[in-house]
Amino acid sequence: MKFDDEPIPGYSLPILPGHYSPGRLERVLRAGCFAVTTEIDPPDSADPAEVLKRAAIFDGYVDAINATDGSGANCHMSSVGVCSLLTRVGYATILQISCRDRNRIAIQGEILGAAAMGACNILCLTGDGVQAGDHPGAKPVFDLDSMSLLEIARTMRDESRFQSGRKLDLPPRVFLGAAENPFVPPLDFRPHRLAKKVAAGAQFIQTQYCFDIDLLRNFMRKVSDLGLLEGPDRVFILVGVGPLASARAARWIRANVPGVHIPDAIIERIEGAQNQKAEGVAVCKDLIHQIRQIPGVSGVHVMAYRQEHTVAEIIEQTGVLAGRVPWYPGRDNPEELNPESPDALQEETL
């Protein structure tokens, strides 16, 4: 899709009537397109070029890029830092904020700062426990939970005030998201918890990795029965997917990454293949085909940690973009190319 008012990199789009943010993701979702988002691997470095290089891998295949906030409780470049670098050249970003590391004072300041830097989407997360990461001795903060974080962010945006009640001069114009994991207990409560998140302000959801279509179908049916997919306050659901590198990797993830449910059948299928890596990608594509058929699903969130180069292939071959080329720096005007994208580097050497 092409908008006649595509952005000048670094500047916001006009906010359309009935929209909350000046961002492209909200436009794509509200236009009814099947959206694709992905996750950038934040560097363990202070090098801005590295961030741009890692983003360029997705050029033309994704509608927005998640900047993770110490995911898995491991330390990396901050989500605000990554978003600021990316929005400068025009990428659409989803800023992840976790409640694990900061209290309400820091978080609200971060929301303002990120919005000022052009981040249009915020994903409100609880965060993995510190025990899961590389600094198990850190103090877990958890001053807020994802639900109260959503509510605070919405209050800042819609009522233009901090949680304390103090007024903001200019509210952050952000599209608010949250996570959900339909695949772990208490399964019956999960759709209701989603309803609670929508009541607290969630406008889009990105789910945990889906490897179990039946559970997802059930979940979506209940979510739809609760009326969450209709009306102006409806929620858009992006289902998490990703390629598994091998059967061994899958088993490791299942045992060590909190909240990832992988049925034995999937692992066995990969194990039985000649080329396990290719089979992992094939499984991912099959899942996307099935997910797309489920009523109410608005898109996929592709998490391909350390396999980022497979995202283009997966999206291309599943055809979920239906011919659409999501905007990226340089799509319409080669002068705007991301300086770290392979195309730009090639031009230089010519």
């Binding site: 426990g129 877990p140 939970d145 509510e151 994991n181 772990v184 207990p185 208490p186 945990q208």
Partner: protein, 170 residues
């Protein structure tokens, strides 16, 4: 104690009924509490509350009790202090991501809420405000009593009561 707290959740309905008798009695005594002085009562009442609720629910004295809205499972026992539902890390066996030996507080809470009355059980669906840490280690009972009095006064003077902060509780 872990075993007692799990027993309390298994008997969430009984806990709910008991509290529904206790709360009006306690808050009706407001004139007496005022005569004795709420400030002076804070320490002894908080001590009793800590003893009783600590034994029954492993209560952490957040001072803004949510038990009635969480199926009688104290959410402050969740290592992430979640007050609005489980995180995404719950293990396949229903145990906690952070403490593998403990059943997830929110798996308990959901089960407890299903055992409560329809009205009480439905409170798990309400969004809870973040904890106000200024109330930590103070009596939630006295707070509810003062709050109820405020509500009565407002109702009498014909104003619509403002949104009360948090749910009254056990």
């Amino acid at each position: 104690m872990y075993s007692v707290r799990r027993w309390a959740v298994r008997h969430a309905r009984l806990m709910e009924r008991t509290y529904n008798v206790f709360e009006p009695l306690f808050t009706r005594l407001d004139p007496l509490w005022r005569r004795l002085g709420y400030g002076r009562l804070e320490k002894p009442v908080a001590a009793v509350e800590r003893g009783l609720k600590g034994w029954l629910f492993d209560c952490r004295m957040c001072g803004q009790c949510a038990l009635s809205s969480t199926g009688m499972a104290c959410p402050m026992n969740c290592p992430k202090n979640l007050r609005n539902g489980p995180c995404g890390g719950v293990r396949a066996n229903g145990h906690c991501e952070v403490k593998p030996d403990m059943k997830c507080v929110w798996v308990e809470a959901w089960e407890g809420s299903q055992r409560m009355t329809e009205q009480g059980g439905a409170r798990i669906h309400q969004v809870q405000p973040p904890v106000d840490f200024q109330f930590q280690n103070t009596s939630s009972w006295l707070r509810v009593s003062r709050q109820k009095r405020q509500e009565r006064l407002i109702a009498r003077s014909g104003h619509t009561p403002g949104q009360s902060h948090g749910e009254p509780s056990a």
